[in-house]
Symmetry: C3
Subunit: 140 residues, 3 copies
């Protein structure tokens, strides 16, 4: 069995943004020389997500507004107990649960076996500092 | 290491419906002859989900109503920027994020290692056209 | 390829609680003697979750309050069709969908390859009875 591990470092200047990382994941799959296997991609930080959806800017604006409705940014310690620790990012810990931590993608014939519109995104909900993404491919 | 890849084609006549695909996944595991490994099942379309929960029609009605509250269908371009592209399915891209894209299930002794009530569902949120589901099993 | 399967039995006395199971998962990885691979951890029951986030009690209170807002406990058959079956736990089936069923974690150099704050939690939403968690590690 082969395995290949890559970590990306993300530097998102905004508090919230969605970044297409499909090319980086495809590159890691090529480097792995795995032809049949599984590829895990996960955020290594707990205020960020990795998810698969459409690369359409309008949809991304919709997601950001929707997540803000479901878990509003509020640095005060009244709304979120977590912000009594001195943090201001409790909302980001909630947004990440909606969007998810990770995706697992099939590798077939040496390539990511994605559907026609599937693209892999890094979802940042508390940016302005470096964070890492794990890519791990195992297979033959 | 063995691997086995199957794609199902789903044709759901309604806009939203939940379909039990556990028998199809079990069949793919048998065909794989994998006895110890992992089985990935994912929607290949970004307005659909694969998830695990209970095969109980009342619960499925509850999920549909709840998802409609969290992300209402609204083809107008006012609520969702995505629908300014000419699409009317922005709500489905949101519902799918709540229910998830994929499940990974253990394969033990040649069978899906599911808990007593776990059943695998395809969740369609923008149906009335064919869509694919990926099943990929790897192991020994 | 090696594989190793462990099931934990959780006995949570409260209806809802979040339990750090990272030490148990690390132990299973050590027992597996897998150095490079993937580790699946999933709830085997459909009113519970396995997820990764921060081990911070304030955040856990925030999650519990937020999940209660998104899917309130209500044993009556009016709010949830599922509770017409005699069950009172429809809310738990919804909460679990928000928090997710499973995590897949990379195993690198014989250890869980977690980010600095990543901890693995069992999320119980209908406790007061034993439930199982699956840990399955595959790799070399």
């Amino acid at each position: 069995m082969k395995s290949h591990t890559v970590t990306l470092t993300m530097n998102v200047p905004a508090r919230m943004d969605l970044v297409n990382i499909t090319p980086e994941v495809e590159k890691a799959v090529r480097e792995s020389s795995v032809t049949e296997g599984l590829c895990l991609v996960n955020a290594m930080h707990i205020t960020a997500s990795v998810f698969i959806n459409d690369d359409e800017p309008g949809l991304h604006r919709d997601y950001e507004r929707w997540l803000e409705q479901l878990a509003p940014f509020d640095p005060s310690p009244e709304r979120y107990h977590h912000n009594r620790t001195g943090e201001d990012n409790a909302d980001a810990h909630h947004k990440r649960q909606i969007m998810g931590r990770e995706v697992v993608v099939a590798v077939t014939d040496g390539r990511l076996d994605l559907g026609p519109w599937e693209q892999i995104f890094y979802g940042e909900f508390d940016g302005r500092r470096p964070k890492r993404v794990m890519i791990k491919i195992i297979g033959d």
